[in-house]
Symmetry: C2
Subunit: 349 residues, 2 copies
């Protein structure tokens, strides 16, 4: 029998940020597909759409009118999953029935007035405006007494459940620390306890030394595919110096994050020459009034496409019931992503 | 301010089987949808399709020919994510790079020779054949030295990533206990330690007492929507007497499980008068050679449809990055499911 190697043989990898394991099945790319294909016919979008709830000057479903905004623009989500004005309530009955009211607030951030331009098509300056707005919101929401966690994220593309095609992201801020960040909180805390250093930074420097999973670098950030990436082209943007949260970021760092966000989004679009769908967002220090030296902000990207613009990875059956599973290795994904041109495939067209 | 109530106010619920929390946002059903709609045009399927890899007598992609099977039929997955014949390998480098080879095996179970009949359209006898085959496979695979966990599941419908429309399920058997069952292993173990009883059975009897989340009962099984259900119409089939695994089941119990599976699947199809997609599967005792008095087998169903045959719940953005979230409560889902006719909507057509 030949020697074991990670490019050919089924294996599990450990995610030290969450404590979860991942199943990797590198040999599995060749199975036939008689299943669902996504519709990616991209009708060219207009710069302004009069029927869009998010375009400048338009009236939203609740009757409010968007201003004629020119940069990034934030407003209260008219259908927020979390609201401020609920009474407190708690249920605790034996071992099986535990529940608690949850206060919070949800916002929407339009990335730009343009209905037709996604992150990889905006310039760094425009994206920096988005990062600045994130920072302002993180600070403002996080300063509220009843907000202990601020989740900033983007669902890009209809295949990612994005309910409106105007490029935008969301913020859900709430009382409790949600499941995923809570796992990281534990692991980062343990690591800090043990080594007196940040787990994220230590990991980034290990990867920089190895080089094989690095996508790009700028002055303050690194784009990489984590060793334990779950989604086919999952990636992470992480800092090279301690940045616990957006609140700590200066001008230069914000521009660098915007640049990294853009670089990665361009790589993505270029892979299948299609507007690459993903869910992305920031994990950072909770806003619970504590100091968080164990935290470093990082942005994670979970894109579903697998073999083409129309065939995605389904996280179903085995994955839902048993264990996340991926078909190509993190290292092969890096090779594909790094071989892309630096310019967006639509640029100059 | 009015009193807190679970039907109107945002809250979190605790899942005692896994230790995870769920975000519930009951008021959120009314947001507008300009996002993706699923294609549910169901072209009537033929009873036999000559191009299907799973129909009796047809040749599969690897050149093997299916026999002219008449009941349920199992075969080795030609593109299994897990294989037996890999060398052992392990990586353990500091805190960040941990991986291990994973041996296993993957099988496919055709539910019946009929290309066009899903579980809710088969009779109890035919489904019992499926359950019998599950039992035989669980025993055979589980008896192998290097198999410590057997995951039996079904992906139904193309929206659930089902790569072949012929009604079938899968079995992935492997060395390690995957993430989800491992969480339950811990919680069931703790509970058994504390009370000397099975957590699943205690929960079932609590729900039977309350009644409000019960869908149906037969001699051996209960269909219910767990208090902490994540998916809009998530449900569970659980036993009324101790059954650690399929290996322990007698004829009567197997027929009862088949009956419960069918009853639930009919309810599902009737909700939106469409072949209701889901991922379903069995959580049961690991096959690690230990005794598992703390385990009771239960079947879980994760269906994605939310408001109609074409609008599903997307577990994206917030859900991937932060916390699973649902819009309608478990209790409203029960009401919708229970109000369905007992006969399949196509019956008699
Ligand atoms: O095995 P299939 O039907 O080819 O594939 C389907 O089920 C698997 C197990 O849940 C998943 O890993 C795949 O993503 C899904 O498309
Ligand atoms: O908020 P939207 O865009 O209406 O909805 C989308 O994002 C939310 C947050 O990730 C998800 O809960 C929804 O399932 C998804 O469709």
């Amino acid at each position: 029998m030949s020697d074991f190697n990670f490019e050919d043989h089924s294996h599990r990898r450990y995610n030290p940020f969450t404590g979860d394991w991942l199943q990797v099945s590198p040999h599995r790319g060749k199975r036939p597909w008689q299943g669902q294909e996504e519709d990616t016919s991209e009708a060219p979008k207009p710069a302004y759409d009069e029927k869009c709830y998010l375009c400048p000057g338009n009236t939203r479903i609740n009757g409010e009118k968007n201003p004629d905004y020119t940069g990034a623009y934030v407003f209260q989500n008219d259908f927020g999953a979390l609201t401020e004005d609920i009474p407190n309530g708690e249920l605790s009955e034996g071992e099986f029935f535990k529940a608690k009211s949850e206060r919070g607030t949800c916002k929407v951030i339009c990335f730009s007035p343009r209905h037709d331009l996604t992150i990889p098509e905006l310039d760094v300056q425009a994206i920096t405006k988005v990062v600045e707005l994130w920072k302002a919101e993180y600070r403002e929401l996080g300063s509220k007494d009843f907000i202990n966690h601020v989740q900033i994220f983007e669902n890009k593309g209809s295949v990612m459940g994005c309910s409106n095609p105007h490029p935008h992201g969301q913020i859900w801020a709430q009382e409790s620390i949600p499941v995923e960040p809570a796992k990281k909180q534990v692991k980062f805390g343990d690591y800090y306890q043990k080594y007196g250093r940040s787990m994220v930074l230590d990991y980034v420097y290990e990867e920089l030394k190895k080089g094989e999973r690095i996508l790009f670098e700028n002055d303050y950030f690194v784009g990489l595919v984590p060793f334990w990436a779950v989604w086919p082209f999952e990636a992470m943007i992480a800092p090279k110096t301690h940045i616990a949260s957006l609140a700590d970021m200066d001008e230069g760092q914000m521009a660098a994050l915007a640049d990294a966000y853009r670089q990665l989004a361009i790589m993505y679009d270029n892979v299948f020459k299609v507007s690459f769908p993903y869910s992305a967002g920031i994990h950072q220090a909770p806003t619970d009034g504590q100091n968080h030296p164990e935290w470093d902000l990082h942005m994670v990207f979970y894109p579903p496409l697998l073999r083409s613009a129309t065939v995605k990875k389904f996280m179903v059956g085995y994955e839902m019931l048993a264990n996340p599973q991926r078909d190509i290795t993190a290292e092969s994904a890096v090779k594909i992503l790094k071989s892309q041109p630096k310019e967006h495939y639509k640029a100059g067209k």
